[in-house]
Every structure is written in C-alpha cells, then in structure tokens.
Point group: C2
Chain length 242, copies 2
DNA sequence: CAGTGGTCTAGACCACTTT
DNA sequence: AAGTGGTCTAGACCACTGG
C-alpha cells in the first residue's frame, strides 16, 4: 500500500509522532545520527526523510542545534485571517454551527466537476460561521463525498479543526488545493450569517482539496467579510539563509 | 557572495541556462551521469542541485526518461486569471500603461512598512491595466525601491513580464511573497480604469515580494474585476505518484 | 569541547523507458 | 541491452551551537 522505501517509512513514522505530540511543536527531533542508529539506516536515507518533513513545513533544521518541530500540518499557503497589523489572536476565534453534518445528494448547481464515483456516493454537508472577537467574518459551506468515512456525521464536532479531525480519525491528509476567488455583493443569506448590509463586498472562494486518498476530494465554498480583517498568506521561502 | 557549495553552483548554472533557453521548456536536461562527468561531481551532489530545481518547479523528473524542463520561473502559487471553465488564453491578454515608470517619493499612505534604507531611496512607480479579450480585469500599481536598479526607468517596457525583466537585467529572482486580500467597492478611479459601475465589488490585493537580494522588496497593489474571470491558483502537490 | 546539521564522495542495486 | 532516475550505504570533513 504505502511506498516501502526506507526514507518514506521513516518520514511517515516521524510525521505520525509529530501529529501525536510525541514531538510537540518547538521540541527537537532525535539527531540524525541517533535516527540512523535507531533505524539502522545510513545518514543519507535519514536526511531524505527529514528533508521531506522540512519542505512540507513540519520541521526546520538548524546547524549545530537539530531538527525543530514547527507545525502539525503541511503548510499549504492557505489564506487565513490577519488583522491589519498582526495576526488575529486565535483565542478570539469562535465557530458557530449553521448546518450540522447531514447526508444529502449533491446540490444541483454544485460549482465543481464531480467524478462518477463521487456523484454516486452523495455527500455529507455542513456549514459554519467563523467569528473573530465576536464579529462574524466567514461563512463556510463544506461538502464531502460519502466515501469510506465511517462515523463522520456522528463524530465530527463543528468547533474543532476539520483537517485535524480527518488526520486523526482517518489518517487523511490534505496534500494540495485548487481555488478560485471572486469579489461579490452580499445577498440575503450573507447579510443574515455575516451581519452585513446588503450589497457589501464579500470575498467568495471556491476550494477543491486534494488528499492522500487519490480519488477523495473535499469541497468548500467560503464567503468572507474583509472589512475589518483581511485574508492573507505567505508563499515561498521568505527568510532565506542570508 | 553566492553560496559556494558545489550543488548550489550547479543549481544556479542550470537555472540560468533554462532561463536563457539553452534548455527550452519541454526539453531534457543532460542525464545525472553526464552532469557528474561534466562537472566532476558525485551523483549525490548533482541530484541535490536537480532536487532544488524540482521543488522550485523548474523541472520534473521521470524514471527512465530524464529531467524535463517544466517552467522558466519559480512556481510561487501566485493567483492568476482563470475563465470559468478553462484557463484564460494568454494570447488574449493585453496590457495598457496608465503610469510610465517614474521616480517619486513613497506615497504618504503607503500600506506596507518600509525599512530606513527603502525610505531613503525613494521609489520607482508604474501602473498598468491588464485586459482579457479587450475587457479590463486588473488595475495594478507597482512600487520598487530605487536601490541598485540602474536603467530601470529607461529600459522597462510595461507590456513585458516584470519578473522576467528583473531576472534578465539584474539576475533578480522573486523568492517569496506575502499578500493580503480584501473585497472592496469600486470608487471613481476604479470605475475609470476597469470600466465598471461605481460600488462594483472588486478584489483588492496588497503584495510584498521578497527577492534573492535580501533587503530588496517589491510592492504591488492590485484591483481585480472578477465578474467575468475569477482569480485562481493551485498549491501543494496535486498529482502525487500513485 | 562534543554534538549538531551541511556538504561531498564512490560506490551499489533496483525499476522503468527506449531502442 | 543500454540508459535513465530512485534508493541506499559507509564513510569523510566542515561550520555552527552549546556547555
């Protein structure tokens, strides 16, 4: 099933251990020599595994120090909320359920193309409103094909991280994404959920997520009020060595 | 100046040759063994150089075939225009100059923080309107600090690619970017350049580009009419092996 | 100073593609 | 069969960080 290359096995093991807080964020992985000895591998092979973790954003390496855990999820350069001066304090974010997860057929006017497999399976749909400092900023509709995700409807709680839930419950990892972005005028649905005036300019984002299950995609439609908080991201290597 | 590691030297040489069409898009680089022999390097070192070209999106590798040139610029996951069904035909894109490159002090209300070095240097500013199928879709204001970019004002032609000009003329490469995105209502300036009604929702994007000159940044402010063409991008590895 | 990651070598065997 | 990239080993020396 999985690639049986030694560096891939080590990569997956370390990633799992990072996810499971064996190595929490900020901690240092065992040194390359220790990993070599423990796994009976050459240093090149160990470095190949660490290199993959590094390019995917899980760790950073520092000469003389070690490999430091940076993040618990692949850095995908997703847009996220930023204040005008600093990043929004995560403790001030809250989530409101608008539609609990339910089984349904795909909407007639679904904006993404679906495979026959996805069409036949129907979908699980839920919707949330995200707020920052009690001000609603994002209305999010998510659609997941009903394909081998047992207990999803019962177990997923809307106030948790969707991606972390998928990783823990199904070992499902988001590996990539396509998105399209528009500026649109708020209609009656948006005015209600985002508490804005009619015709307020909103950011509309359609997203198709790709995962490590090659035929399983997730879909989201986002509406964002950017009056107080812009959406921002960073891509590429911003801090180069020298 | 440059890193003197052998793999970095080879990486830079190959990148320059790709840029200069020594290896055009679609062509195959010399095999790893040939590169080893030509540069008197071990295969690991050659592979490290190729690996960097690969993760930056210049080449793809295929077992049994070789290293195939994919792109002439680092893939930065920039947002670009997409039609509703297919990518916009590049032959239908045109550029209109609104403001020719000129020296000026930084605007009072410049939305990015500037270093003392940048402040003192003043800036070069130009503005363009991009059209797709003769319909204006983007109004773009660009600001470049006046730091060691000789002949810029005289030589840069607004209808060429800004990034390719910088690479050819100054060996300046864009390595990363930060951006913030809003939905805003069109004001009188936008209605004029983008030929839209007042208060039409527009995408506003502020961008700060980072380059291989560690203290040189470029700045752009974009206003996009997304009524006909959305902005889209792709990030992460969409097509995994298997 | 000992330990870390960064760079590099000279081999080896494998799976895949093309001729 | 010959050539390609994919994986892997067992060394080596270096520059950097810490006590």
């Amino acid at each position: 099933m999985e690639s049986s290359a030694q560096y891939q096995l080590l990569y997956h093991r370390l990633k799992k251990e990072i996810l499971a807080d064996v190595y929490p964020i900020g901690s240092v992985l065992p040194s390359e020599n220790d990993l070599c000895a423990a796994a009976s591998l050459s240093r090149s092979t160990v470095r190949q595994a660490l290199s993959q973790l590094e390019t995917e954003g899980y760790i950073t390496k520092q000469k003389g120090k070690g490999s430091i855990v940076k993040s618990k999820s692949r850095s995908l350069n997703l847009l996220s909320f930023h204040g005008f001066s600093a990043m929004v304090d995560k403790t001030k974010m809250s989530t409101l359920s608008v539609q609990e997860p339910t089984f349904m057929p795909w909407p007639e006017d679904f904006p993404f193309e679906l495979s026959e497999l996805e069409k036949g399976a129907g979908c699980i749909h839920f919707a949330r409103v995200r707020s920052v400092a009690r001000r609603p900023v994002m209305y999010e509709l998510t659609f997941v094909p009903n394909l081998n995700l047992p207990r999803f409807v019962r177990q997923f709680k809307l106030n948790q991280s969707f991606f972390e839930f998928l990783a823990k419950e199904y070992q499902l990892e988001i590996t990539g994404m396509e998105q399209q972005i528009w500026a649109v005028a708020a209609n009656s649905i948006h005015t209600q959920h985002l508490q804005v005036e009619s015709n307020t300019p909103l950011l509309k984002i359609n997203r198709k997520y790709h995962s490590n299950r090659s035929h399983l995609h997730l879909y989201s439609i986002l509406y964002c009020d950017t009056e107080k908080y812009a959406l921002g991201n960073t891509s590429g290597v911003i801090n180069q060595s020298l």
